[in-house]
């Protein structure tokens, strides 16, 4: 005998008669859009905030350590090490944006006045702001404290971030469950390690070719992000094919 089920059924009351009328007339406060966006902050997992802080801390440590202990490596190697951290932030950001689509979560229940695209938009806005702040901090750090320059630092730091963000979003929109997390993690690790290995190898790639290649990858990443976000916000089709 399932006591829990029996308890629920044994104490079933008659249907409430005035519920609809009351709820239609209930003067409950309606959320404004800014309140709605802020309400979403508490649903973003702590790991995103922790990762953002850790990435900035690791970048500061790298620059400080290299300028003190290995001044000859303060140029490109430092920037590549810093840029190799961003794929993990990108992966977390993408997984966080896709989470609302993957599971029926509480925030969907609480925010039922807002549609799924609005909800995804709000979360993207928050996560995008956090990522922008982190990327800006890393770029300034590399640009000011290394001889690479702000423009080049921005390209090298943005490339892995945009690439992994695009790939992860595409993965999360195609696959369900833990598998998508693992695949996304592998892609972040691959991009992060390849950046360091390429820099560590003695391959002499001319700077303009390297920059053009990075810009091409940035464009590829951005286009993938835009297309996948469009697909995610058109949630109906997504749910139709994947649930």
């Amino acid at each position: 005998m399932n006591v829990k089920k029996e308890l629920y059924e044994a104490f079933s009351p008659p249907e409430p008669k005035r519920k609809e009328i009351f709820l239609n007339a209930l003067p409950y406060p309606k959320l404004s859009f800014s309140q709605f966006v802020f309400s979403q902050i508490k649903y973003i997992r702590k790991r995103v905030w922790v990762a953002s802080v850790l990435i900035v801390a690791a970048a500061v440590f790298t620059v400080c350590f290299m300028s003190l202990k290995a001044p000859s490596y303060i140029g490109l190697p430092a920037v590549w090490i810093i840029s190799s951290l961003t794929p993990f932030l990108a992966m977390l950001t993408a997984s966080e944006i896709s989470r609302s689509n993957m599971y029926g979560m509480t925030e969907l229940e609480t925010a039922c006045r807002f549609s799924l695209p609005q909800l995804t938009g709000a979360r993207t806005l928050i996560l995008g702001t956090v990522s922008f702040a982190v990327i800006a901090a890393l770029t300034l750090l590399s640009g000011i404290f290394t001889p690479v320059g702000i423009a080049n630092s921005a390209i090298y730091i943005l490339t892995p971030f945009l690439l992994v963000n695009g790939i992860s979003l595409a993965i999360f929109s195609r696959f369900k469950g833990k598998e998508s997390g693992y695949i996304s993690c592998v892609s972040a690790l691959f991009v992060s390690v390849s950046g360091i290995l390429l820099q560590g190898s003695q391959m002499k790639i001319p700077e303009n070719i390297c920059n053009n290649f990075c810009i091409a990858l940035c464009i590829f990443g951005t286009v993938t992000i835009i297309l996948t976000m469009k697909k995610i916000t058109n949630g109906a089709n997504y749910y139709g094919t994947h649930t």
Binding site: Y8, A10, F11, P13, P14, K19, Y28, T110
Partner: protein
């Protein structure tokens, strides 16, 4: 938000009906709890609304005890009168007050552990512990009754 309020309405109504055994009064108190809550608050705090409803039920129950019951206040019973359901109801009434309250909130009103803990002013761990003990006692009582 409306969907959450709707769900909460059902939960509170179930709880109030359990306490009062009168659908009209249960609905009155459910609505009163919502109105009192939204007169002063902007977001939803299920435990807070439950606490208001619980206190209103207690007030009404006390009033009923001091007033003479008349035909104006008919008590209703739960619809299903099969043997098992009657035994379950009797077993629940035989539990201690704390155990009964936890089971009523968790399984009759369908509240979450968090909501139950906040409403009763105890920890989540205490809710789990009381719930486990209450369910074990219920099983024991039902085993004896249904033999």
């Amino acid at each position: 938000m409306l969907r959450k309020i709707e769900e909460l309405y059902d939960k509170i109504y179930r709880y109030c009906f359990y306490r009062l055994r009168n659908s009209a009064s249960a609905e009155d108190i459910t609505q009163e709890a919502f109105l009192r809550y939204f007169a002063q608050n902007t977001d939803i705090n299920a435990a807070y609304i439950f606490t208001i409803a619980k206190n209103l039920c207690t007030d009404m129950f006390r009033r009923k005890q001091t007033e003479e019951l008349s035909d104006d206040y008919p008590t209703e019973d739960f619809s299903d009168k099969s043997d098992t359901k009657v035994e379950v109801r009797t077993a629940l009434e035989n539990l201690g007050e704390q155990h009964r309250e936890v089971l009523v909130m968790r399984y009759i009103a369908d509240m979450s552990v968090n909501e139950t803990a906040e409403t009763l002013g105890i920890s989540r761990f205490a809710v789990y512990r009381l719930e486990k003990a209450a369910l074990a006692q219920m099983k024991k009582l039902l085993k004896g009754a249904l033999k």
